[in-house]
Amino acid sequence: MQSANMLLRKIVRSSVLPFAAQHGMKKDLFPLSRTLSLSLCLKQDKSCEPSEKLDLDAWKKVMKSGFQEEVSETVSEPKEPSSLAAASEMLEMWRLSGRLVPENITEEQLKTFMECPSKSAKKKYLKFLHLKELYKKRKMDKKMERRLEAQDQDSKTDETKRNSIIYLQTSTMDKAYNWRAAQSMIFGQPLVFDMSYEKEMSDREVANTVRQIVLSESCNRRSADPFHIHFCNFKDDSLYHREFIKQYREGWGKLLITVTDQCYTEIFPKDKLIYLTADSPKVMKTFDHNKIYIVGSMVDKSIKTGVSLARAKRLQLETAALPLDKYLLWSTGAKNLTLDQMMHILLTLKDTADWNKALEFVPKRKYSGFVNKPVNKPVKELKKTLDLINALKLRKRPEEVQKQFAKNYPKKYKLK
């Protein structure tokens, strides 16, 4: 009996009462009467089994009793018939069930969500929003941290603030960069971004493209000898345009680049143009300072091969691909690189003509090492062994393999 009482008291204390208090139902005797009945059934339980026993269904009573009032509230609320509200309710439930769903969602995003053609598209979109929210939160946290740190430092050393060398430096650097960019607009080697792929991409791909171009432009501006960037086939009020304004805001008008709706073939002589595309059958050997390279402004998440090659074919332009296989031991991933990686590679080539140095900008996960570098000899060796193992597996020409093995390895390893 004592234990039952304990239990009863606990229930009253821990759950029902606070809830009732929350709803201003203190005077209502309802929760009490419920607990009374609860104690009754507990008593019965006890009578049949003298040992200490748990009431396994106690949680149900708690769950049911706690929310009786809430129900009456929700019923009195006018039911929202709009599908938007229903969708957001649905999202809330998904979030509760532990799916990857953003906590806050705008009406616009909700509409996009509802327009997704399939269940998996919906799931993907929600996951995207969820991750975006997560990154944003993390960024904000970091910002706050930094701000706090900065405040700490400010209070410690007031002198640096007065002695504003740092501020001066950034603004002078900006000026210097702009000066170089302006010079490049007169004397620099042109580099063309072909902005004619909007139809091939989804909205998100266009946004990603623009983000990559912004990164490329900034690294170009900071380089010692920038390219003169051309945006060709650029239509006003296109999706590209809108995204650029989103990214640059008022800076868009002040960029030191050439933006035109003309095609590159109208601006430059055809024989000087080289279209860079991973699908090209020709491999680039050296960087030519007299040519004009074209990069397609396209992010291609749904493997559309040959789109930019088709464009070059149509205009009868020369094409080239980076010599990735010649210099790198490729392991995984597509051979198409992001636009900012292309920009880094081209800038490095222009300055140094060193392929090994330029191809450092290929993401490390995509290759296992450089072909010629002495440091990576083990990799080469490894490849040889792998080939050998494969040959053994396929049981091709066993004598030949054995001979090769004997040549490569000391006597103590023997093939059986």
Partner: protein, 466 residues
């Protein structure tokens, strides 16, 4: 962590909770483990009780996990209780919970409740195919065939693809029934299999066989068999359908191949307009061919031989009985190199017509076009499965037509041990569910046999009426 075997007291749960990192995840981790180990339901209940007393509330995801455990153990009254609690506590439920509830209730005597739940789901979204499966199975299990078929038609109307389990349950539960309407419906399902080129698995095939044999007064007899290469059924000597398309299907398919596969979004991606035009005039002038050969594909058959020799062997092999051959290749084959000798190429050009595409053009698309233009008798030779081209076709109907045509017209080949090339002739018959009214022939696959989209089953069920 191993879930406990008996219900625990609050203190004991506390002890366990302290060991868990992080403690907030304790319930989730514990319930997941319970589901994995299929722990007794009382243990989960004691955990929930402890949780309710701690927080005065139980989170939705915890309830769903508990529900999973109940469904797995068929605890119908518990499922109902959880549903009541959820309904009181939340305005709507999400798909996961509905799936579980419907699955749990449809297996019990409260299966009608699953139907009302299905109605509830329909208000907020399109129910999943497994929801429909549970309900249809429940309805047909209780001999409510009309209701089951209503649900089936409804899901088809909503473009929800039925599972094989649903289709099988119709056959399982319609045995020994003498009902014309029902029979028609089941024949309809067999035709659905035919249209969508679905092959039943072994147990499904057994259900079909048993149903046929159980029809009162139907006198159907089923036999398992293998069809001869000639396309004749050894049991009833019936000749199976061939894979020829009708005139209309044929012209539709060639049109779509040109439109979707060759041109696609941009003609320049696979060829160029000039090249395609040149190819078209070439083909029109030389029509019709008997066999179209993918030259580069054939030339790689034996890696240690010169590529042009491989091709030469293949052409010699196929050039019997005045068959008109077309070999498709690329321009680089004409340049004298270690793999391509001009003399051999010249000799081959006496025996067959050649078309050389640009080195960066896609020769497969030309292969399809030339074969289709030559007519129904024309076959093509390649080891390629042509899956990428099938994928270019925009609708599934066309893809089915393409597959059907491919089965009947593709000659595959392999290098035999003695050094000659063996050609595997195209199917003389179409591998698809088919009927003549008093016979049915149904291809099926063994469950354990791996099946790729290009493979067709070799085993058949022959059903005939005596």
């Amino acid at each position: 962590v191993q879930p406990p075997e008996k219900p625990l007291q609050a203190e004991e749960w506390n002890k366990l909770r302290e060991d868990c990192q992080p403690p907030e995840k304790f319930e989730e981790v514990m319930l997941n483990n319970m589901i994995r180990c299929n722990s007794p339901i009382d243990v989960a209940k004691s955990l929930l009780t402890d949780l309710a007393k701690r927080n005065g509330d139980i989170a939705y995801n915890v309830l769903v996990k508990y529900l999973t455990l109940c469904v797995r153990q068929g605890q119908v009254s518990e499922i109902r209780d959880v549903y009541d609690i959820m309904k009181v506590r939340f305005k709507v439920l999400e798909s996961g919970a509905y799936n579980l509830l419907i699955r749990g209730l449809s297996n019990s005597d409260q299966w009608r409740m699953a139907l009302t739940l299905l109605e509830e789901v329909k208000k907020i979204m399109i129910p999943s195919r497994t929801c429909y499966e549970s309900c249809i199975k429940a309805a047909s299990c209780h001999q409510e065939m009309k209701l089951a078929f209503e649900l089936y038609d409804e899901m088809l109307a909503k473009d929800v693809v039925p599972t094989l389990g649903i289709l099988q349950s119709f056959f399982d539960f319609s045995r020994h029934m003498k009902d014309e309407e029902l029979q028609k419906k089941l024949f309809g399902i067999l035709l659905y299999l035919r249209e969508n080129q679905i092959y039943p698995h072994k147990t499904f095939m057994q259900s079909i066989k048993l149903w046929f044999e159980s029809i009162p007064g139907g006198n159907w007899r089923g036999h398992l068999t293998n069809i001869k290469d000639s396309g004749q059924c050894p049991v009833c000597n019936h000749q199976l359908e061939d894979s020829n398309l009708t005139e209309e299907e044929y012209s539709n398919l060639s049109e779509r191949i040109i439109k979707d596969v060759i041109h696609g979004t941009d003609t320049f991606r696979k060829t160029s307009p000039q090249e395609f035009e040149a190819f078209q005039t070439f083909v029109e002038n030389q029509l019709p061919f008997d066999i179209v050969i993918d030259g580069l594909n054939v030339s790689h058959i034996k890696p240690r031989r010169m590529q042009c020799e491989n091709l030469f062997d293949a052409v010699n092999c196929l050039a019997k009985e005045n068959a008109r051959l077309l070999v498709l290749g690329r321009k680089h084959m004409l340049r004298n190199s270690s793999n391509w000798k001009i003399e051999i190429m010249k000799e081959m050009q006496n025996k067959a017509d050649f078309f050389f595409a640009e080195n960066i053009s896609d020769d497969d698309a030309f292969l399809l076009y030339a074969t289709l233009r030559s007519g129904k008798h024309c076959k093509f030779v390649t080891r390629d499965f042509l899956r990428d081209h099938k994928a270019c076709l925009s609708d599934s109907g066309m893809r089915h037509l393409f597959r059907k045509w491919q089965r009947g017209h593709q000659i595959a080949f392999s290098a035999s041990a003695e050094g000659s090339i063996k050609f595997l002739p195209a199917f003389r018959y179409d591998c698809v569910v088919q009927t003549t009214g008093d016979t049915w022939h149904i291809p099926y696959k063994d469950v354990f046999e791996e099946k790729y989209s290009y493979q067709v089953p070799t085993k058949w069920l022959c059903i005939r009426q005596k």
